[in-house]
């Protein structure tokens, strides 16, 4: 049924349709509307037998989900940013224990300095924890991915993170098509755990594993994630057939057929990228887009295949590995290692800075002419940065760096 609702609400309704049994809620911007909506739905009795637990921290949220999932219940929680970090230990634990928890991450920057706006630092910081990471381009895809996520998680016995841009998607009202309960039930079967805490058949879960077997256990975790590489596209197809629209999958190509320059990106920015690219195409530019829907496991083959004809690649990402550069670009460069194709890294949108079509068109045009640095910080105020650094060179007690940046920023007359 078509609805015009907030992204958070759409996700909450989709999760409710998946018949969760235990939902853990701890508030953090910008995910709060999701757990609030779920709380309302549980209180209204709209979700069958579901326990909604207000926990005392994100660490508790993931831990309660761990206990619930291990006891055979379909468990869900949501978080962002600092909250994701606070549960980091539990993330690794859930993945290592093979518990099919589904969690929404409303992507948000990580402090210090504190910043509540969108970028991908949070999910990226946990890219190695063993969770499957899916990225939604629109609110429709966000709700659709949750339905796929539960099935994927339970089939593989691996937890799945559905990433959606905080505020940009979570707080945007747009049209979504909400499936019916029957449609979801047909796609998502009842949870049949591979392991469960059951007095009738006692097992010990979470024992120590020594040097003799740890490598094999970790290899299997890796191998299981790799299984997702075939399951995800297969079930995305199944989803498409059952629900009548494309959602998920490993990658989403756009205008790639004869593209010489390909823009690679994740999440909601793909919309703006496509608008920018369409205009450039209209001017004769052979440029296309590759959306990455599944970031972990990294779809090497799918990406290599999609970029097979590209003369140059521009990775547009909302993430930064301090001391290295881009994160997504590193994955792309590894994928394209056999081919000597320039991969430009454009780091944009950090801490919620809007990514405009105009800025993108300019940087894409520079890329097309190969007049771009290998790593670019989009819309960086280089002069400001230099002033701050100069201040540090001159003065020992130079003060907190972020505050100095803010001071410099506001010293410039407003444009």
């Amino acid at each position: 049924m078509l609805k015009q609702i907030e992204g958070s609400r759409a996700v909450a309704e989709a999760v409710a349709l998946c018949r969760p049994e235990v939902i853990c809620a701890y508030p953090i911007s910008p995910q709060t509307h999701i757990v609030e909506a779920l709380g309302e739905l549980v209180a209204a009795g709209d979700i069958g037998r579901c326990e909604f637990i207000n926990v005392e921290s994100e660490f508790a949220a993931m831990s309660v989900a761990i206990g619930a999932s291990a006891a055979g219940a379909r468990a869900y929680t949501a978080t962002a940013s600092q909250g994701l970090l606070f549960m980091a230990e539990a993330l690794f634990n859930a993945a290592g224990l093979g518990l099919p928890i589904v969690m929404t991450v409303a992507n948000r920057a990580i402090g210090a300095p504190i910043n509540i706006w969108n970028d991908h630092t949070d999910s990226m910081s946990q890219r190695d924890c063993g969770w499957i990471q899916l990225f939604a381009e629109t609110n429709q895809e966000a709700l659709d991915l949750h339905i796929q996520a539960f099935r994927l998680a339970e089939e593989l016995s691996l937890p799945v993170m559905v990433c959606m841009d905080g505020f940009i998607l979570t707080h945007a009202y747009e049209r979504v098509d909400m499936p019916s309960q029957a449609q979801v039930d047909a796609f998502l079967p009842k949870f049949e755990p591979r392991q469960v805490l059951d007095p009738a058949e006692p097992v010990s879960i979470g024992a120590m594993v020594g040097p003799e077997a740890f490598t094999e256990v970790r290899y299997l975790a890796h191998a299981k994630q790799m299984q997702a590489l075939s399951l995800i596209p297969a079930w995305a197809s199944e989803f498409h057939y059952a629900f009548g629209r494309a959602a998920g999958g490993l990658v989403r190509p756009y205008a790639l057929e004869d593209a010489q320059t390909v823009i690679v990106a994740l999440g909601s920015v793909l919309g703006t990228v496509k608008d920018a690219v369409d205009e450039m195409r209209a001017n004769g530019e052979k440029i296309g887009v590759l959306g990455i829907s599944c970031f972990r496991p990294w779809p090497f083959e799918a990406v290599a295949h999609a970029l097979g004809g590209a003369k140059r690649v521009v990775v547009l990402e909302k993430s930064l590995a301090v001391g290295v550069g881009g994160i997504v670009s590193t994955n792309v460069r590894t994928t394209l290692a056999p081919r000597p194709v320039p991969v430009y890294d454009v780091i944009a949108g950090l801490g919620g800075r809007p990514i405009t079509k105009a800025s993108l068109q300019k940087v894409f045009a520079d890329a097309v002419r190969d007049e771009l640095n290998l790593t670019t910080f989009l819309d960086l105020d280089a002069a400001l940065v230099e002033r701050v650094l100069e201040n540090e060179r001159q003065v020992r007690r130079s003060g907190p760096l972020p505050e100095n940046v803010l001071k410099e920023r506001h010293a410039v007359p407003a444009r």
């Binding site: 508790a60 206990g67 805490l197 006692p202 979470g206």
Partner: protein, 325 residues
């Protein structure tokens, strides 16, 4: 013929034994049909108080719950010695997640059981003092505040034993540990049973491995309640405390008889029963046999420290009315 009641007491570490008691008052452990939930073959140290306490507690819980029990266990001695790769000595469904989240994991299990309508399956969370009073404190309080249907059992051996005897917030003043080599400071302490009572939860109790019938009875009592329950069990650690491994039960008895460890029960925040000291002893009797307190006696006696510890014991005796004096 006049009826004269006879009371049996445990003295030393040799007990009167269950065979002189009527069957219904014998311990669960005395029963051939006990579940052996913490089965033999685990790797606990000789004389481990925690292994003793856990064995009694869990078997009693199994009996009280008609064998419908799930346990979540914190990282620590109990978890490590009970599940040495590739073995497990647990005969119940058991999960070890992390060090600080056991109460939360148990909350999750209880929620799952509720969602699935499995009302008869009961949940225990268990951990040492480190995992309970320090790193697990936030999750513990959260579980109390929500009144989740979990019995949390803390086996308190007063330090992070598994990692090599480092100080925890449960380490008593003056005790030597690897991180308090000249003796722990006289700090504020952290009285978790009282904190549990401050949450007003249905049932809080303390127990020791010197009174195992009492421990079993308290587990049984705890299982009669629904909601958050907390049991704090004083368990000796020969290795960490520096006493002979056949003195574990005696150390626990001395802790009670000196007033250092009050044994009581509370319901909804009010003390409802107290296990009185049978024959009061000065704290020195408790401190002397433990090498972790050796520096209080040699090269010379630290009268001030001993007096302060005595004062703490006196305060407990007065506060909980542990003697009839």
């Amino acid at each position: 013929m006049p009826f004269q009641p006879v009371k049996y007491y445990q003295t030393g570490t040799f007990t009167v034994g269950n065979r002189l008691l009527p069957p219904e008052t014998r311990s669960v452990q005395a029963n051939m049909r006990r579940t052996n939930s913490l089965n033999s073959g685990h790797r606990a140290c000789q004389g481990c108080g925690e292994a003793l306490g856990a064995r009694y507690a869990i078997d009693a819980a199994m009996e009280a719950t008609n064998r419908q029990l799930v346990a979540a266990n914190a990282t620590g001695c109990l978890e490590v010695f009970s599940t040495p790769y590739p073995e497990t000595s647990w005969q119940i469904p058991w999960i070890h997640s992390l060090f600080g989240n056991t109460a939360a994991v148990a909350t999750g299990i209880a929620a799952a059981m509720k969602a699935k309508g499995k009302h008869e399956t009961r949940v225990i969370a268990q951990g040492g003092d480190g995992g309970t009073t320090d790193i697990g404190f936030g999750c513990l309080s959260g579980m109390f505040e929500r009144n989740d249907d979990v019995l949390y059992i803390c086996y308190d051996n007063e330090a992070y034993m598994n990692t090599g005897v480092q100080r925890s917030s449960a380490t008593p003043p003056a005790a030597r540990t690897a991180t308090t080599t000249t003796g722990n400071a006289f700090g504020q302490g952290k009285n978790v049973p009282l904190i549990a009572m401050a949450h007003g939860i249905p049932y809080v109790a303390t127990a020791t491995i010197a009174e195992l019938h009492d421990l079993e009875a308290k587990v049984r009592r705890a299982m009669q309640f629904r909601g958050a329950r907390y049991l704090h069990v004083f368990v000796s650690c020969p290795l960490g405390w520096g006493h002979a491994s056949d003195q574990s039960v005696r150390m626990a008895r001395l802790a009670k008889e000196t007033g250092i460890f009050p044994v009581f029960e509370a319901e909804h925040g009010e003390v409802v029963s107290v296990s009185k000291i049978r024959k009061r002893l000065p704290v020195e009797e408790y401190l002397k046999p433990q090498r972790r307190f050796a520096h209080l006696f040699s090269p010379q006696k630290n009268l001030e420290a001993i007096a302060r510890i005595q004062a703490m014991a006196d305060r407990n005796i007065k506060r909980y009315r542990l003697t009839d004096a």
